[in-house]
Amino acid sequence: MLLQLHNIFKWVNSGGQRIFLLKDINFEVREGEFISIMGPSGSGKSTLLNVIGMLDGFDEGEYQFLDEPVHSIKEKHRANLYKEYIGFVFQSYHLLDELTVKENLEMPLLYKKYKGAERKAMVADMLDRFNIVGKKDLFPAQLSGGQQQLVGIARALISNPKLILADEPTGNLNSKQGEEIMQLFKQLNDEGVTIIQVTHSEKNAAYGSRIINLLDGRMI
């Protein structure tokens, strides 16, 4: 069992009223799954993904990640947990503009305190694997959207996470680029990486092994 959500509630208070963003979410994820979260805009997809990724908190319920109770551990410990096991991919890539491709890839390793030689080897490996060795000294602004997302995925993968969380990874790409990225996800999943993606597109959701549908913060 990779992770387990139990009666998760999340709300905000607005004008004296409690507005629920997530309402009684329960599900489990096993290692090796490829899950797609679907639902209309504002249904809480991204919020759920952020809760799973521990970037956002929740107000009620229990969350076990690799048998660690996420809801009751300290921030530092939590940071260690997601730094170790989770990689993020964003719709708008979120690469650091001031850093080159190579340096962007290197950054997660810095926070994990890898040695210099090791980092170099891993970065080289990743550049090789994604076929972007020629671009390693370019800045993000010099790449196309698909290439940027490729770097984003490479960055998420570089520290060998157990789980990849992708928030509409193809949202900013054209269909051809999108298909390539999805193929890549499929391939990664076959290699054993667990993936949870948020998507609007039925076609992309079909790559996954299971679909979770959300409406107004509730699973249906």
């Binding site: 956002d56 940071a79 997601y82 730094k83 170790e84 001031e98 340096e103 950054m107 997660p108 926070y111």
Partner: protein
């Protein structure tokens, strides 16, 4: 990791060129000036602190109860020190010390030197190291003297000085002395500096006054025996004082003076030598006041504060552009501490660069700074371990606050919010608070500048009661009899139509190029009352030369023959005598009876920051003159000055001509005020400049943030001026608010300061309004430049990005 941080920092600095430049210029200027000012303050504070016994050696002073209150005197009668040592227990070492000019002759060459007449214990008390000669007793007998290293070089060249005989001019005779030792030159930060040291017993006044208790001319320093406390010693001296000053105490009692709380009319006190350079006795108690150096230090800190406030504001504002980076780093596993470290490191980077630039600038500016601020300070004043460590600690603290605060705020942001570029916080309140504070400082400093200059201008233009523009005073520093010099000058210049009159006196007006100042006082009994007056010995034509009008009576005149028993007094003295007709007054002293022959209009014979005191003029050729006065016609002033110089060369070829116009002399007396004015002026210029750099950067940011709003408003139909006003208003409001805080503050400080001047400008609200208006105007120009451009931009362009 570190390398990555540096890389990111470097690229960010390059990306935000305007802000980086603004920060670097602001901070490095602030550091440069702060270093220079700090150096000046440290130099001022270091005065006399090099003496090893500075805390255990004391200066003796005497407080006297007079009918008008307590006064303090530091000068003492000659028999005091030996008697004190003999009769009062607890004194380990005691030394007398008297500073005077000395005219030395060696092989027919004259040297005008700063002399210090001292007892031998002087060298036990103070740290003036001996280079050659007896370390314990540099002047072993009364015919020996000690020279400073550079003076010995001046007199003897590279030849041997020890054992040589030089001649000291004493009155009209030349007394031989043997050079016994060579001393290290006195450091610049000493209150007592000398070229030559002469035994106290060899002073010409020593023998005549050896048992006289009512003639004072020198300072006394002493060290107590171990275990003797100050209060113990002061108590010990009481019966001694009552016995030796009996006559004076009697007349004090008769005049109605009240004793102090211990029943004493005269009480000796001790002042630690480390405080001597900072003490003021004006109010009847010793007040040790280090305000001036601390004021300088304060201004330095304020300037750093202004620059740091800019830094904080810009950093927080720029943080908005880096939200994505922060969010991304957080999702990649950075914790708060790491982000804080990263942002702090960036701040330190900027600060280190600024300090290096500041140090370089300070070094380059050192020489002009020293001339401008008239200080002898050097950067080595700052290179003491304590100061350096303090400097680095405070630097760390400054970067921690200035860099750490934005770092803290940025590192605390929630990852998701940061990624979405949302940032809700009360940042404007801090920003506005800092801007207001900056302008409060700037406005206070500007008001200070205006008022200070006003006061200096007032003092400079004030009618002092004599003609200061047309009169040259010349220190009589030659060997010849002073009356003869004046007479020869008179004859020499007689045929020059531009020279109107020549006279002499035993004191200068203002402070001449010889730098010396002296006061002579006389106390006598008149109708059972003790009356004190300043005295001045003058030559014929003194009043005519200086254009001092008579109120009644006549001046000294050749027609009346010997006027040596006649005196002329000023109006204040006449008031002091309290007679209907002062011309009828006869003053009896010892065998002589003095007759008042004239009353002159009050004039400022002392510094202008003092009330006019009673003054009595004598004309007695037994008493030397020390200054000649020459009045020239207003036409061809420079030519006349040269003529006087030439005449002097003929009369006294050996002595240096140090003549100067009296208005220069008066200017010299408020050198301190002028230094203060320069410091505050530069502080205020820098303050407003730095505040405006900050304001400019902020206005740029605000304009960028509101580009869309500006576009929409223009499309709807707003005019350029209304938009400019809209954007500028917020900033001007802050300046206005700062003015409201600054004006009372400035009024309070300046009023306090002016109160120490009996003759001063009245503090009108106009000064503050002017300062406020100036700040407002400068702020408007700064912000306006940016906003007008934004307001007149084509709205289509700003909206197209949507």
């Amino acid at each position: 990791m570190f390398k990555n941080y540096l890389k990111i920092a470097w690229r960010n600095l390059l990306k935000n060129k305007v802000f980086t430049t603004a920060n670097l210029i602001g901070l490095s200027t602030a550091f440069a000036i702060a270093i220079l000012l700090g150096m000046t303050a440290m130099f001022d504070l270091s005065f006399d602190q090099f003496h090893k016994k500075k805390d255990t050696v004391y200066q003796l002073y005497l407080s006297n109860q007079t009918p008008k209150g307590t006064t303090i005197s530091v000068v003492n009668p000659i028999p005091l020190a030996p008697a004190l040592k003999e009769e009062v227990p607890g004194i380990k070492h005691i030394a007398r010390s008297l500073s005077q000019d000395a005219l030395i002759t060696y092989q027919n060459k004259d040297f005008d030197l700063d002399a210090e007449y001292v007892d031998n214990d002087f060298f036990t008390l103070f740290s003036y190291p001996v280079i050659i000669g007896n370390t314990q007793e540099p002047i072993p007998n009364k015919n020996s003297i000690a020279l400073s290293e550079s003076t010995a070089k001046k007199i003897f060249g590279d030849g041997n000085a020890i054992g040589e005989t030089i001649f000291l001019q004493q009155g009209r005779e030349q007394v031989p002395f043997t050079v016994a030792s060579i001393l290290k030159d006195t450091p610049v930060n000493t209150s007592v500096d000398f070229d030559i040291v002469i035994p106290f017993e060899s002073h010409r006044e020593y023998l005549p006054n050896i048992d006289i208790w009512d003639s004072y001319n020198h300072l006394v320093y002493l060290e107590l025996e171990e275990g003797v406390s100050l209060s113990q010693f002061e108590k010990n001296t009481r019966s001694f004082t009552n016995q030796h000053y009996e006559n004076q105490i009697e007349s004090m009692v008769r005049d109605g003076a009240l004793p102090d709380t211990n029943g004493q009319y005269k009480q000796f006190h001790l002042l630690p030598y480390s405080d001597v350079a900072f003490v003021s006795y004006a109010t009847g108690i010793a007040i040790v006041n280090r305000t001036f150096p601390y004021l300088i230090l304060g201004i330095a800190l304020l300037i750093i504060f202004i620059a740091c406030a800019n830094f904080i504001n810009m950093n927080i504002a720029l943080g908005e552009k880096r939200l994505k980076e922060i969010g991304m780093r957080k999702t990649l596993g950075a914790v708060k501490r790491q982000l804080f470290g990263q942002f702090w490191l960036e701040s330190i980077l900027i600060f280190v660069v600024s300090i290096v630039l500041g140090l370089i600038a300070a070094h380059l500016l050192l020489d002009p700074f020293k001339t401008l601020f008239n200080t002898q300070a050097t950067l080595s004043n700052l290179s003491k371990p304590v100061i350096l460590v303090g400097f680095f600690l405070s630097l760390l603290l400054i970067t921690l606050i200035a860099g750490g605060y934005p770092a803290l705020i940025l590192s605390k942001l929630n990852a998701i919010r940061a990624l979405k570029g949302k940032w809700e916080m009360g940042k404007n309140r801090l920003r506005n608070g800092l801007i207001v504070l900056q302008f409060v400082i700037a406005i206070v400093l500007i008001s200070g500048t205006i008022v200070l200059h006003g006061q200096i201008q007032y003092m400079r233009n004030k009618d002092l009661g004599y003609n200061k523009e047309q009169v040259v005073s010349i220190p009589l520093n030659g060997k010849m009899d002073s009356y003869r010099v004046v007479q020869l000058l008179r004859e020499e210049l007689k045929n020059n139509p531009n020279i109107l009159s020549v006279s002499g006196a035993d004191n200068n007006l203002g402070r001449g190029r010889d730098g010396s100042l002296s006061t002579s006082k006389w106390r006598f009994d008149y109708k059972e009352r003790s009356i004190g007056t300043n005295v001045l010995t003058v030559d014929h034509d003194y009043l005519k030369t200086l254009d001092i009008p008579l109120v009644s009576g006549r001046s000294f005149s050749k027609e009346y023959g010997a006027d040596s028993l006649s005196i002329v007094i000023n109006e204040t003295m006449a008031k002091e005598l309290n007679e209907k007709d002062p011309l009828s007054v006869k003053i009896q002293e010892d065998e002589a009876t003095y007759t008042i022959i004239g009353v002159l209009k009050d004039y400022h014979f002392q510094n202008i920051n003092r009330e006019i005191e009673p003054l009595t003029l004598f004309m007695n050729t037994d008493w030397d003159l020390y200054y000649a006065y020459v009045k020239v016609s207003p036409a061809a002033i420079a030519k006349s000055y040269d003529a006087i110089n030439a005449a002097w060369g003929k009369v006294e070829p050996q002595a240096e001509f140090l003549g100067s116009f009296l208005d220069e002399n008066v200017d010299r007396t408020f050198r301190r005020e002028k230094t203060m004015a320069t410091i505050i002026t530069s502080g205020s210029v820098l303050g407003i400049l730095l505040s405006c750099i900050g304001l400019f950067a902020m206005s740029m940011l605000v304009v960028t943030q509101r580009t869309k709003e500006i576009g929409v408003r223009k499309v709807i139909g707003a005019s350029v001026s209304s938009i400019t006003l809209l954007l500028t208003k917020d900033f001007l409001k802050l300046v206005g608010f700062a003015f409201l805080i600054a004006a009372p503050l400035a009024w309070y400080f300046l009023n306090n300061w002016l109160e120490s001047y009996p003759f001063r400008i009245t503090l009108s609200p106009l000064y503050f309004a002017m300062a406020g208006f100036l700040a407002m105007l400068i702020a408007f120009l700064t912000v306006g430049a940016r906003t007008i451009r934004a307001a007149s931009a084509n709205p289509v362009k700003s909206l197209r990005t949507e």
